[in-house]
Symmetry: C2
Amino acid sequence: MVASRRAFHQELKELQQEILRMGSLVEEAIANAISSLARQDVRVAEKVINGDQYIDDLELAIEDRCIKLIATQQPMAKDLRRISAAFKIITDLERMGDYSSDIAKVTLRIAGEPLIKPLIDIPRMAELAQKMVKESLDSYVTEDPGLAARLAASDDQVDHLHYQVFRELLTYMMEDPRTIKQATQLLFVCRYLERIADHATNIGERVIYLVTGDRKDLND
Amino acid sequence: MVASRRAFHQELKELQQEILRMGSLVEEAIANAISSLARQDVRVAEKVINGDQYIDDLELAIEDRCIKLIATQQPMAKDLRRISAAFKIITDLERMGDYSSDIAKVTLRIAGEPLIKPLIDIPRMAELAQKMVKESLDSYVTEDPGLAARLAASDDQVDHLHYQVFRELLTYMMEDPRTIKQATQLLFVCRYLERIADHATNIGERVIYLVTGDRKDLND
């Protein structure tokens, strides 16, 4: 029994390593997607879009690993909750990958046109979102509800920037209809980044539930 | 053993009933959100927004039920996959609820302004999306991979309408900048409906995996 528990913890550790790996790929996808947009680099955008398949595959592999772990080790109570947290966290990560790919698709859509404005707040949103992904996964692995709760502050910052960029882009469109096509695309980029931050916040909520048993809404 | 298996199947059935109930609420939320938008009915919009909490709570309750079912019945192989499918399906449903609430928020945002155009294609997209939610859950409960695969055709229809409405709204904005604010909001509504359809398609993919073991990408 002790040996099997040790085996379980070894497997859980490996599972967490895989999740961190998936998280790194997502962080990289966010960074590359935004850099492809800011520098209008079609090749980098295509790399992000093609790389999303890999993130999707990783989600499925980790999912299978979770199921096998449950089936063979039949964990109880907290260990079971650790695995079900993993099971949900990878769904959030997979969506973040999708959003990064959606951003890279915007790069392809507006490639060749000059940017209507230099991108400043959008990369800032992306940096914050990336940091949130990292911190949310750190809070999962270290089971630190304090770190998880602090995601709410970063999420507020992202929301604030979102609001600001949204208004700014609307002003551009109203002042010069030639900017409408691109500005619309940039509005979507903002929205995707805001969603990525929400998903990181979801992970934080899940960690808080795992550790404390409380269902907390960090988006409020 | 036979008795416990019967108990398990009873519990699984109840789990599926709960998922169908969550699905009905989501269908209703989509329908009400779009009707609030088309008729600029703020009261209905608020109902959708407040009702989302109920959908979220239901997700958590079903999740707990899944975990308890795994812990107490220790299902193997296919039964375990049935439950992990449930576990993921409710995540898709919860997101659809969020999108419905996002649509209702657009109603509040544009309330009082006359609509820039009568809404025809958007409600059509919503109807299709609603039908897809229903069919995806039917395919789960009846474990019918054929029904699940047919979701791809509806998803194509939604994508086609999305493309059409998107172009139309851009034209409105370019021809008359006074429409920009509202048209931008309607662009988001379209995007949300398209995402809801994607989530229903995800559920279909999951059913195909559950029944056949194949990972199929219905979005391609």
